[in-house]
Amino acid sequence: MPRSLAGPWALGLAVVVLGLAAVMVGQPFVGLNRLVPALLAADGLEHALVVQSRAPRAALALLAGAALGAAGHLLQESLRNPLAVPELLGVSSGAAAAVTVAVVFTLPVPLLAAAALGAGVGGALTLLAIRRAAGPDSVLLAGAAVSAALQAVLLAAHSLSDTRDQGVLSRYLLGSLTGTTWTDVLTALPIAALAAPFAVLAVPALRVLRLGDEAAASAGLRPGRARLGVLAVACALVASVVAHCGPVAWVGFLAPRLAGGGLGRAAACGAVLVLGADLLARTVLYPVELPVGGLTAVLAVVAGLLTARRWR
């Protein structure tokens, strides 16, 4: 396993610092000395800003980063391929396709419901397609095929869309945390929390899968079934956040790479990435907000090139 760029303490510290920065930085800047009064206040601008806007946004950034980072780790480990990204599970493209269809045809469904439904259907389709896959490579191919089909639906619907719809659509195409509320966090959290113990339980199976399918089977694991289970957990993790903030491009690729192994580290790296990227996204061009997914995609390219030599 490649070595990590940062130890667990450094990662924990980064999460705390970026989390604090996320609730402090912005217009107006709320300093550490005013943070507690703002939290305790019954009302007022700073209270509303910190409690109703910045805090839920930071919480969802943390949750989304952790979920996508963990899902990326599960995928890359179970398929033994650094290019196995959560986007290949069909979950985020399913959500994006469903939202696009709902927006373009002005269907009378809440976007959140459409996204959740699309995420579920996309993930289920992929799992169905890979149920009989013979090995990691055919799993990847089947996943890519389902994703491509959903992308086609998305593009077809998108070509019919109005310019007014672009804001909503870019959220689900690239990922964005703009306008996050506590409702988003509280609906995402239970699914992620339910999937988390299964992700931890999958760790020993992932270790055994490193031996290759033949040796893994002779050690007592059913490789196909184990892989399917791991991917189902990854689907649930991605689905828990993608309905709220879109795919946040490439976090699932980048976080496990930066972590250099380990489920917890991948989740922590994901949280750091999304918190940091979202902080940039809403400050660099203030008052214009960039979609956070655009920034993470750029970061992924840079980090990918920088670390390419370390990878096997």
Binding site: P204, E214, S218
Partner: protein
């Protein structure tokens, strides 16, 4: 100890094994020999429960494999596959994975070595480089580590698919001597696929030669490793004799039935 009866396996239109019966008593070392593609590895995989036969059954210690879970099988039969991908693990981490069947996913989460891991490392002489990464080791050391992985399962039956391939003659003998010692110490039942007939004759108690998915010869080495076997199974003209130490030795004169090598 491990018994296969009436095995038939086909891949698509090709039948790889036709009605193969093999019964390996407890403590025996059986060597499977034959040309590439004759069904040796397939037979080994069926005996390991890694491949379901189209017909026939395999039983280990009286229980049919079909009725056992994957983990139950792994507690009874350990397999050393022909090759394994680069796992990026250290020797110790590799050997620990052998305990999956015994400890289960929850037990594996706890981490740490149990006595079976320590014993497997010690008995294979891999303890000295237990914390080295597998891809930094020589082929011989790596093969010892893989043997330790199979050993850590604590299974009474050990199936080895070409354990000496890719190894120089020193490490070939090293691995075979190691298996001999482990078999004696642990009372293992051993089945190996081997290509070197003289090695098969020297190390195994019994040799089975497969030809086109059928058992062509079955018996103690002295009765099976003969010029007739070379001709009929390998299509090779050769001589078989005992050297001055009484060991079976083979010399290959050329391919039978054509001009090549004559």
């Amino acid at each position: 100890m491990i018994r296969a009866s009436g095995l038939r396996v086909g891949f698509g239109p090709r039948t790889v094994l036709h009605d193969v019966d093999v019964d390996v008593p407890r403590g025996q070392w059986l060597a499977l020999v034959g040309r590439n593609g004759c069904g040796k590895t397939t037979l080994l995989r069926v005996m390991a429960g890694l491949l379901r036969p189209d017909r026939g059954t395999v039983t280990v210690d009286g229980s049919p494999l079909a009725g056992l879970s994957r983990r139950d099988i792994a507690r009874r039969i350990a397999v050393l596959p022909q090759s394994m991908p680069d796992s990026g693990l250290t020797v110790r981490e590799l050997v620990r994975q052998g305990r999956y069947a015994a400890r289960g996913p929850l037990g594996m989460l706890a981490g740490g070595d149990d006595p079976a891991v320590t014993a497997a490392l010690a008995d294979t002489g891999t303890a000295a480089y237990a914390d080295a990464r597998l891809d930094r080791l020589s082929g011989g050391e790596r093969q010892r580590a893989r043997l330790a992985l199979a050993l850590a399962q604590g299974a009474p039956v050990l199936l080895l698919d070409e354990p000496t391939t890719y190894l120089d003659i020193h490490h070939q003998l090293d691995i075979l001597d190691l298996v001999t010692r482990l078999r004696a110490e642990r009372g293992l039942t051993v089945v190996t696929v081997l290509h070197d007939l003289a090695q098969a004759a020297r190390y195994a108690d019994r040799v089975i030669a497969l030809r086109d998915g059928v058992v062509h010869a079955d018996g103690p080495p002295a009765a099976t490793v003969t010029p007739a076997l070379l001709r009929e199974v390998f299509t090779v003209e050769g001589r078989v004799w005992r050297d001055d130490r009484g060991r079976i030795t083979c010399a290959y004169d050329g391919l039978a039935g054509n001009q090549l090598g004559v």
